[in-house]
Amino acid sequence: MTDTARYTRSDFQTDQEVRWCPGCGDYTILAAVQSFLATLDVDREKHVFVSGIGCSSRFPYYMNTYGLHTVHGRAPAIATGIATANPELTVWVITGDGDGLSIGGNHLIHALRRNVNLNIIMFNNQIYGLTKGQYSPTSEVGKRTKTSPMGSIDRPFNPVSLALGSEASFVARTIDMDRNHTIEMLDAMFKHEGAGLLEIYQNCNVFNDKAFLDLTDKNSRDSNRIWIRDGEPITFGADNEYGVVVDGEGARVVEVAKAGHRNIHVHDAGAPNPAIAFALSRLSYGPYGPTPLGIFRNVDVPSYGHEMENQIAEAQAAKGPGEMAKLIRSRGTWIVD
């Protein structure tokens, strides 16, 4: 065993047959995660994958680590229990747009605000796949599905905006087709202390094919992928001819030549105030037209698990370790002879 590359991807594969539909975006994400874990100097037995219910939630069965496939929407809560009980573990949450934003929305926002040491990967395919094609909380208005035959009248969530509004200390977005960027985002989230949310645009080729076409089609992707990188001006396009400016009205896309290069916003993922990150998240209403990809926010906040351990240490320092015999006498006693 060497210090680097202790593992290969196959060390993280199980003998279980992967049962997603052929061509599903989940395969590329699974491969990216397995490959990424193999590069880390983290014992395999310290990884825990926790999922809820949905296509993506089968993920833990395919990871040769500790794992739980749980109840619809509840993965962030169950993972919170694991990460708080033992902060030495690396806990991953696998969820989807239905699991994480609909039935489990409450747990997601609270895990983020508490800054529990969790790496949350949200597979966003904008559809319910496992139940065969109903609109989800990220489906666009007007979406026609079996349960919205006249078009959905639900206004969708923007998961990045929601996470930023939930006090998340790490928020990023990537797309399943871009394996290198996916791994780069996984790495950044892994290194960040506390709760992280990585939204992955994931294609469901059966029930919602080509939902992310603007970002994946050869002819449109360059002009629609806004790469945001910490410390760099935000420009995009085949020749970086477009850029983003931020002013009192929010963030908007401009032509660099017209706006002037010095007016292009330089991204600061570590800004304590999440307002500008939020403004950037509003550049697109979904994966339509120019859409930011990358790390929106990455700030240092103490993680919940360690804060709780600190309180225990503090209590023990102040009162001494717990003694049952003392505790049951703590309300006053009397003797009967």
């Binding site: 199980t14 279980q16 014992d43 395999r44 037995e45 310290k46 990884h47 825990v48 926790v50 219910i53 833990p60 069965y61 990871m63 040769n64 680590t65 500790y66 794992g67 739980l68 496939h69 749980t70 109840v71 509840r74 809560a77 169950i78 993972a79 919170t80 229990g81 694991i82 990460a83 708080t84 009980a85 033992n86 030495e88 573990l89 409450n106 747990h107 609270h110 709780m308 309180q311 225990i312 209590a315 023990q316 102040a318 009162k319 001494g320 370790p321 717990g322 049952m324 015999a325 505790l327 049951i328 006498r329 309300r331 006053g332 006693t333 009397w334 003797i335 009967v336 002879d337």
Partner: protein, 623 residues
């Protein structure tokens, strides 16, 4: 006047065996505190006691109304008592609403102490009195002793530094002082408490001490109060005692369980009446390594507990009826994952929000069957406040030994009432730990291969190398735990999980029969213990034969229960529900039962059960 020593120029008090006293007032009047302090003094004096707090669900219900009445009942005795008493012998009514709400419970001829200052037109109207009951013959059946407690308190505390309306806040201490005089209670424990809580130099501390002494002295100087009482210490078994509240005993039992299971305790809970104080007690004992997590909702409460169980901690979640319903789905998951956990259900009046501060035993069938799929779980119940310690410890033992969630049922009465508890020797508590899984080098870890006796599966936790495995809600292969859709495997797993509960049953103690004969047995569970035992004992004293069987284990039922019940002609089952244990017993043993159900949001009364027992015994004789 407050600083002078109390001179106890007491006429010889009448010696009585026991007394039931109820302090009643507006929920802002501090009756819970007065009752608790009166109880503490009596405990220190050596009496046996049992208490029953009763308060509205609203934090501040409209002042002066019937809905806003809060009361605290305490039964003190020179003998071993089991209930807070059916009816008070003495009622302290701090306002007309308190009188109206409680008078019908006071025994005829009982002592009625009233704060006459509160009986003005406005308060009388709020309580729905057309005329002042103190001025007519409405209270002729009682010994009424009035005192202008507000005026006297105001006057007594005028040098304390407390000003204006705030002076009236100490009137509960005036009442407490007066009651301490009438029932010959020492006031020193109260003085100590005030000192600890407020300091005797603070205005509030001073005011409370002054009011307490003023109340006591008012008894001394007012001839009307010269008939006083005393209750001798009870001959309790020798030992060291504390006065313990049920929820506190539950929390302590869980901590003791964690210590003896050698597992750090994790509690994930959401605040809900009347369970919240268990979470609070655990949160203040972090020096035991307790991790207390206040979740965003009931589902996250059990969710985090499940996660902690997977991570190898002693997982606890606490709740009451509505919360148990919300936890149901995750409880089934914990059951199929076969992870240890204790779910405490402090039952309250239902359905829905129901009577959140009152007692009921109506979650039993929900605990038994309120899960999807075939999902049997061990269910265990507490019968008194101090019993909760032992039962909570036992719940932990079962959870860890059998790798299963356990439902521990208490109720709103046990949760908030108290009794003297002879402290156990905690160093003699058994070791209930069970080692985590281990494998030899190269051996494959099989998470569902079971212990042949307990049918418990091995517990391997994240961080243990070579035993990485996945658990999920999908049906599992009987050995590997991998997802299996095999029809025979599924049916076999259903039976195996049910057999695990049966295996537990074989290890449990048989029920004991209190009493003899074959005419009638009274079968109970939970907080009806004291009332049933009192009723049965009274009937036995008349020479008639009646027996009592009280259940701690409800699922599985004790192995000899069917035979025991069948050996009696009649089985009477008193419950604070509409017959839930009755239904289980009938289904299980095909024997008939007489259900006796009172669902008033109050503890069952011994007298009612006694009447029912006579009714059945007399029927037996005449038939």
């Amino acid at each position: 006047m407050s600083d002078e020593t109390l001179t106890d120029e007491r006429p010889v008090p009448e010696q009585i065996d026991d007394v039931v006293i109820r302090f009643a007032g507006d929920s802002g009047d501090g009756m819970q505190l007065a009752g608790t302090q009166f109880t503490a003094s009596s405990a220190m004096f050596g009496n046996d006691l049992a208490t029953l707090p009763n308060f509205p669900a609203e934090i501040r219900a409209p002042q002066g109304t019937i809905g806003g009445v809060s009361s605290f009942q305490v039964h003190i005795a020179d003998w071993d008592i089991l209930t807070p008493g059916d009816s008070p012998d003495c009622l302290v009514a701090m306002n007309p609403a308190a009188l109206k709400a409680n008078l019908s419970d006071l025994v005829k001829g009982g002592l009625l102490i009233v704060n006459t200052d509160a009986f003005d037109e406005r308060n009388l109207a709020k309580a729905g009195y057309d005329t002042n009951p103190l001025d007519n013959d409405a209270l002729d059946a009682y010994q009424v002793l009035g005192a202008p407690m507000e005026m006297l308190t105001k006057e007594a505390v005028k040098d304390s530094g407390v000003k204006g309306r705030a002076t009236l806040r100490s009137k509960n201490f005036f009442a407490l002082g007066l009651m301490s005089w009438i029932y010959t209670r020492p006031i020193e424990p109260v003085l100590d408490w005030v000192d600890k809580k407020f300091g005797t130099d603070t205005p509030v501390g001073k005011a409370n001490v002054m009011a307490l002494k003023a109340g006591y002295n008012y008894g001394i100087t007012t001839e009307a109060f010269h008939h006083t009482y005393t209750i001798q210490p009870a001959p309790l078994p020798a030992g060291e005692y504390t006065n313990v509240v049920g929820n506190t005993a539950t929390a302590w039992g869980l901590i003791a369980g964690a210590e003896q299971a050698k597992l750090p305790l994790f509690i994930g809970s959401y605040p809900i009446t009347p369970a919240t104080t268990i979470l609070e007690e655990l949160a203040r004992n972090k020096n035991f390594g307790v991790k207390s997590f206040q979740a965003e909702d009931e589902i996250a409460g059990i969710g985090t507990a499940l996660g902690a169980a997977f991570a190898g901690r002693l997982a606890i979640t606490t709740t009451s009826g509505p919360g148990l319903a919300l936890k149901s789905e995750t409880l089934s998951l914990a059951m199929i994952m076969e992870l240890p956990m204790v779910v405490v259900d402090v039952q309250r009046g239902g359905p829905s929000t129901g009577l959140p501060t009152k007692v009921e035993q109506s979650d039993l069938l929900f605990a038994m069957y309120g899960r999807h799929g075939e999902s049997p779980l061990p269910i265990i119940s507490t019968s008194t406040p101090s019993d909760a310690f032992e039962v909570a410890f036992e719940a932990v033992r079962i959870a860890v030994t059998y790798m299963t969630p356990v439902i521990l049922m208490t109720d709103g009465y046990i949760a908030t009432s108290s009794e003297p508890w002879r402290l156990p020797d905690v160093s003699a508590l058994p070791d209930i730990s069970r080692p985590f899984a281990s494998i030899q080098d190269g051996e494959e870890f099989l998470p569902y291969v079971r212990d042949p006796e307990t049918l418990a599966r091995p517990w391997a936790i994240p961080g243990q190398a070579g035993m990485e495995h996945r658990l999920g809600g999908l049906e599992k292969d009987a050995t590997t735990g991998n997802v299996s859709y095999d029809p025979d495997n599924h049916e076999s797993m259903l039976h195996t999980r049910a057999r695990k509960i049966e295996a537990l049953g074989k290890s449990l103690p048989e029920v004991e029969i209190f009493g003899e004969g074959s005419d009638l047995v009274v079968l109970g569970w939970g907080s009806t213990y004291g009332a049933i035992r009192t009723a049965v004992t009274r009937v036995q004293k008349t020479g008639r034969k009646v027996a009592h069987v009280h259940l701690r284990y409800i699922n599985p039922l004790p192995s000899n229960l069917g035979a025991v019940l069948s050996s009696f002609d009649n089985v009477l089952v008193p419950e604070i529900n509409l017959g839930q244990l009755s239904r289980i017993v009938r289904a299980e043993y095909l024997i008939d039962t007489h259900s006796f159900n009172r669902v008033l949001g109050q503890p069952m009364r011994a007298r009612e059960i006694e009447t029912k027992i006579y009714e059945l015994l007399d029927q037996e004789v005449s038939s």
